[in-house]
Symmetry: C2
Subunit: 206 residues, 2 copies
Amino acid sequence: MMNTLKAKLFKNGISKLWDFMRTHDSVSILIFNISRQCFVVVKQFRPAVYMCEMEEQCPQYFENKTEESWCPLSDFLPASKGITYELCAGIVDQPELSLEEIACKEVLEECGYKVPVTSLKRITSYRSGVGVTGSKQTLFYAQVTDDMKSSEGGGQLEEGELIEVVEIPLQDSMKFAYDETFPKTMGVIFSFMWFQSNIAPKLQEK
Amino acid sequence: MMNTLKAKLFKNGISKLWDFMRTHDSVSILIFNISRQCFVVVKQFRPAVYMCEMEEQCPQYFENKTEESWCPLSDFLPASKGITYELCAGIVDQPELSLEEIACKEVLEECGYKVPVTSLKRITSYRSGVGVTGSKQTLFYAQVTDDMKSSEGGGQLEEGELIEVVEIPLQDSMKFAYDETFPKTMGVIFSFMWFQSNIAPKLQEK
């Protein structure tokens, strides 16, 4: 799924080299449970985040490490340092499925809700990790009810996914979004804010 | 600056391997020019974005490419396919400087405005590229005037930066943010929206 390549590009007569990582495009989904008036997000252990924290707090650990050497991690830092709150998301690796179909599959696998493809609302798309991967992310909104819950979610264990489904009450959501003690992706912050501007006013009208 | 490592982590008794890329933390800055009522962003050619587009549109090009082989890019796709709109930003690689000092340096180098460190407003921080780099990004807001403009900006040529400074009029900004024909980062979309909620109302009061 992910490998590194070097690119040689010519610009203004100068040839340059860049490292970049090949990754897949992805979809992410802001899920709002209207029965419970809460957002449904996922909490995940992220090795890359953990390693960043390690590097900051135990830089000596990385000395003399090369691309070939392993980093057997142990108990320097608690695992909680590698946990982030994220939107339900998945990579686009099945050409026969539409982005919407992949999004619905992820909502079911990770969060346990059966969402009809036609009920997804596309919010926008953007480029992520422009310095490294540059892949395209498409963001959707899915409104769900308790009736649509069909399983526990939690991701595909056989693929090594260990995902905890977390509900963030709407009334606490902006406080959560800006509370930096909960590490999170920009997708969470942005989409909570998007909801406030685009969906919340309509909910209040009803 | 950037290299790849493998991490071995133990979780629930299972050992797993991940690739990840070591990168620096970074700062990004939403710049609003109050004299001209416009946002100041940067437009940059991003090799990683270009390669993503290549992979989508010319997948045959990547067949049999390994980590060691170069990809000499040529005229398959116009360079414009690799251009993204981004916030002024920079990596945190000088331990003797505060995040705010680095942010001010980047605003000057890339966009040509001299901003006092104390006038920066911290918006929030978040994790980017959680699957690959997991680095921490801190987002600031800087309000500038025409009087603060001291150079053309454009980045450091000797470091291979080729940056075009672009002004987005406030009145067009939300349309721009959601127009997917302008490839951009989530930082741009989020911060324009943040401005609408947090700064625009105060401007109108004045």
